[in-house]
Structure formats: C-alpha cells, structure tokens
C-alpha cells in the first residue's frame, strides 16, 4: 500500500487529504500516477497541472521519474506561507 497525500486545494478536488492505495502495475512514474488519479477522481486536469509538484518520500521528482518503493507520495500545489 502507498500513502497518497493531497495538499491545499487538491483535497477539495479529491475529497480527501490522505488515502492508502495499491498502485496498479502500469503506474510506474510520477506522470502515470497523475494521469491515473486525475481520471479516477474526475479531476479534470487538476492533478496534471505543471504547478502541482509530486514528492516521493519527501523528495520532489519529475514526471518521468519512477515511483519505485514509494511509501508516501504527495501532490503539492503552489506553496506559500507567512
């Protein structure tokens, strides 16, 4: 099982801030995960936006990088505190 986190406005899109999933075999990269989840949530591209970054176990990765042995994957929309 992989823990998936949806931060900021994305939790409104997915209806959850956190879930545990078995990723299908064909979801091998960050980009494939975006596409699969965007369809699954009918998110209309919200998970595909380039401004939404993906972190695997607290490291930002590019869309063509593999999800190998990911324990926790986070979808991170643009950030900003203060």
């Amino acid at each position: 099982m992989t823990k998936i986190l949806y931060f900021g406005r994305l939790s409104d899109v997915t209806g959850t801030a956190e879930e545990r999933l078995d990723l299908p075999d064909h979801v091998e990269t960050a980009g494939a995960l975006r596409s699969w989840l965007d369809l699954r949530f009918e998110a209309k591209g919200a998970l595909l936006e380039p401004s939404v970054r993906i972190a695997v176990d607290s490291e930002i990765i590019f869309d063509d990088e593999p999800l190998t042995q990911a324990n926790e994957i986070a979808f991170m929309p643009p950030v900003g505190g203060g």
């Binding site: 900021g8 406005r9 991170m76 929309p77 950030v79 505190g81 203060g82």
Partner: protein, 150 residues
C-alpha cells in the same frame, strides 16, 4: 532556530528570548506577520495553514542556512504557526541579528520572501461565502526573484 507549531505566537515574548540569546550583537530585525481580516476574497474570518513535515522544516532550514552564508548573521529565528487562526493572530515571526544592520534587514527580508513563496505551506481562508485556498500573489514572486537576480 526554527519552530513550527499550532500554538499561538507571541512576537514580544519571542523577541525578548531572541535578544537574550543574541547578547550584544549590534542590530536585531524582526518581522511579525498577522492574519488580516480583509484579503483578496473580501472579509476573512479564519485562516488554516497546512504544513508537510519534514519537507516544510527541511526547506526553511535550507533557506536559513543560505541566509547565514549570504549575510554575517550571529543568530536567526523563524517561528511559524500552523493550523487554525483568526484575524489578528500572528502567523509568522522572523528575527535576525548581526553586527551590521544592513545584513540583519536583508536577511529578514530574504527569509520572509522565502516563507511567502517557497516554504511548504498551504493556506485556506474562511470567508462568509465559503473557504478558499490561497496561492502566492505575483507580487510575492517578484519580491522573491530579487534575491536570485543579484
């Protein structure tokens, strides 16, 4: 020093402790940011701030380390509140100390630009017409870009 917590921030108490830690260093600059009651979406009655540990801490610590490399600071402090707040609450307190006042000013300014645009936080405002997630304004990005243009 970095502190991220849902506990209320007391700027005056933080400045007092910081000054004690700092000893005789010439100049201390502080910035306190508070939750506004009016924002892009009109009246704001509450604010929720979300962090993602340890990415939030790691990022801020890297920015603090960069500040110490760029300016001759003797001390620096970032205290950031998370969770639920109301207007008037202090959301962030930054303090820097240096023998050179210019360094203390620039480093505090730099850390605030980082916190506004790059720190791993997500901000949701509660308004009479509903909740709204807020992402950085273009003004925040242009402020932050000043530091890499040098």
């Amino acid at each position: 020093m970095l502190r991220i917590s849902p506990a209320p921030l007391d700027s005056a108490a933080l400045l007092k402790t910081f000054e004690q830690d700092v000893g005789n260093a010439g100049g201390i600059v502080s910035f306190s940011g508070r939750v506004r009651s009016a924002a892009q979406a009109g009246k704001v009655t509450g604010l929720h701030l979300q962090a993602y540990s340890p990415m939030t801490e790691t990022g801020i610590e890297a920015a603090m380390s960069e500040a110490r490399q760029r300016w001759p600071l003797t001390h620096s402090l970032v205290a950031h509140r998370i969770g639920d707040m109301v207007p008037g609450d202090t959301i962030v307190f930054v303090a820097t100390a240096s023998k050179h006042r210019r360094a203390a000013f620039e480093a505090a300014d730099f850390l605030m630009d980082y916190l506004k645009t790059e720190a791993v936080f997500w901000k949701k405002e509660t308004t009479p017409s509903g909740d709204l997630w807020i992402e950085p304004r273009s003004e925040d990005y242009s402020d932050a870009a000043r530091w890499s243009a040098e």
